[in-house]
Amino acid sequence: MRYQPVIGLEIHCELLTNSKVFCTCQNEFGGSENTRVCPRCSGMPGTLPLLNQGAVRLAAKAGFATNCTVNGYSSFDRKNYFYPDLPKAYQITQFEHPICTDGHIDVAGGKRIRINRIHIEEDAGKLVHDDYEGVSLADYNRCGVPLIEIVTEPDFRSAEEVQDFVTQIAQRLKYAGVCDARMEQGSLRVDVNISIMPFGSEEFGTRAEIKNLNSVKSIGRAIEYEIQRQSEILDGGGKVVQETRRYNENRDDTKPLRSKEEAHDYRYFPEPDIPPVLLSEEDIEAIRKEMPELPHERSKRYTEEYGLPADDASLLTAQKEFSDFYDEAAASEPEYRMISNLMLGEVSHLLNETGSDITEVKFSPAELAKTAKLAADGTVSKGAAKEIVSIMFKDGGDPRRIAQEHGFIMDTDASGLDEVIDKVLAENADAAEKYKNGNAKLFGFIMGQAIKACGKSANPALIKEALNKKLQ
């Protein structure tokens, strides 16, 4: 039997603050164990947390990026449980009054996914198991790293919707400078709550929570696996157990971590050491004003104002820096389409090939725009424009000068062209004959031969005109 999956997400995102959420230790990734630890974040007796206001601002921005209400009143609570990576034996989080509530994002297909809440909390440390020595060691560097948790309603009905949502969240948070969203490094972590029910049913099944998903691809595979696993259980007359499961990328399966019976009672209560966070309407407005244009807004602008196809617009805006580069280029020369083609074509190709990033290229947005302009006004051919990009990518340089040095400037007078064309037609007499007899497809072939014969400065428009005349 085929079932309808019902999916909700909990997404943890590390905030891009300079320091940790309740102390002044640096907020960084990597480094030697226990080098970014102080009495506060290690929970030394007598110490008290001190709220990083930067974390509050970034959490509010995450709210704006996801159409949430940013609340003027929010407060912290303690979530109590024993684990050696949690030195205070409680996590400070927002339970009763989260900073953001009631948001949404529309996924591909136009479906609206509701966001229940976004709250601020602190990360725990890490345990390192040394099998050789037979001991477990605690690294507290990550203790107190600021997180937000984005909690959605169970509105997803397919893996694709989830993948699109996560991709959008990652893009939007990066744009807003909230989170670098590196799933492979764990700075954005997605937990998937999934159950299945017969199609047409309105009663949700028992859900499993899947952890350890470190790419959008893994999310898709884990969901497919879970749908399959749960379907087999139900088909066999069994019952799905409410439990937490861990996705294993290498085996491509999920295995139980802990069941509901072992689930903690976290004994939440208001954190007495941190006064409530009060944001006035002016405060909230000031944070809203700092919001950059988000990818979906940019994409809309590219299609509506620049006339780009929707697919191109969404590709251009996938990465903020890439899109910033495009914006700057488009601002210097209004060759929107041509610049977009160069960026999505040659530039993307070269970046992929060299594994580099748009922020590292040797040419400026203005230089790329100039190249586009040369192609658009017929100074060089489109093919030559690509080659100019390739040369600038390698060594930098002014596009017009490169065009001149490499002889890319197209011929503008037809003198001498007749001679070359005659030669090409003579060499390809057979093709020319067939074309004249009605095989229209062969025009492209002859055209190609003519361009080749003319060399780098070939002017396709002139060649086409001359060929047409001669082949009539």
Binding site: P39, S42, M44, G46, N80, A89
Partner: protein, 477 residues
Amino acid sequence: MDLCELRKKLDGGDIGAVELTKEYLDRIKRFDGEINSYITVCEAEAIAQAEAAQQVIDKGGSKPMTGIPLSVKDNICTNGVRTTCASRMLEDHIPIYDASAVSRLKNENFVMLGKTNMDEFAMGGSSQTSYFGGPKNPYNTGYVTGGSSGGAAASVAAGLCAAALGSDTGGSVRQPSAFCGVTGLKPTYGTVSRWGLIAFASSLDQIGVCALSAADAGYVLNSICGRDCNDATTSPIPSGGYTSAVGSDISGIRIGVPKEFLDGSTDEVKAAVLEAAEYYRSLGCTVKECSLPSLEYAVSAYYLISSAEAASNLSRFDGIKYGHRSGLGEDYNELIKSSRSEGFGREVKRRIMLGNYALCSGYYDAYYNNARRIRTQIRKEYADIFSECDVILTPTAPSPAYRIGVQENDPVKMYQADICTVTVNIAGLPAISTTCGYSAEGMPIGMSLIGRAFDEKTIIAVCDRFERDHERRECVL
């Protein structure tokens, strides 16, 4: 001699800081074997601090606390000096930083004589739950000191320091001060930084002062109060000047006496408090009966809130990163279990159980949330009283100090004895306790004056006036 006078004598060269410290250290040696008010005496450090203080005095740069020898309760962190909370759990705990209150005193070159005895993790009203053995009342060593700051109050009463820092979560400065015949000041929540105070119940804890007089208590408070960037719950309201109204005319002050507080008190206590009320009336104060109807729920609310917070605050003592580590336990859960079983005493365990129970998902509404509602209600009732009164007069405890061993093992009786003090913490208000009489057995009886939030100045002045007209009996050691 009060601290103002002592300051003058130190600055004038009549008394040397080092001799003064040595005299206190000498008295500790002679008397504290019996009283047991100190867990740790810092002899060498105290003399070094006194020498440094003398140099500052000699250069004419003294500050209010320069060279003045104090004791510090053993739940207040002191850099390099072990801070045990009177628990086996922290028997060997040596903090690497000073509590803000201590560092402020150090900035004024005070002298720290040592760390005082207390109930384990400040949980108790007798100080008898101390892992190091309970202190004894200097008025009669067969009697309890009260608690939890029993060591602090006893050290002041016995002349083993000039004044003491204690902490007050539900009466822990005021009640032992009453039992030991000294003055105990619990400031408004948010007046003194809790940075470095090992937390019992964070929303109720406040560092306070035990001293020989209200003026002395205010004098010390002036040096430890104020906004601290390390404690977000400290108030931005300007602090200090707590002794500025001492000696001023208090006639016209309106004093409320809530009837519910007297109902449960012994006849001796009731009589002494009412006599104090009469005294104030004779000075031209208005004394009127008032009411705090929710008092009957206060003890329950207090024990639910404080135990819930305590259960969470004490969770970090698992033997992994902090606290006594047991030699027993094959895995993490077993190790925590045995470390905590060995490290905590009975009363602490009882509160942890109570607190976790109150926070459990099935009971949260019935217990913790109801306690929060009562908290809101008590605050409202205090606000109502303060719309018509300036100061509230109550007994500090329903009875004077009792004999060691009489009721410490009956938790319900012990908890009920906190009825006169807990509402002040629940409402975050300031209160001061002083001696208003002596029982037939010769034990001091305490009364408390409760003030509006951040109005320590008034209760200190009203208390000071009483103390000037009533002789304090010295205890004979």
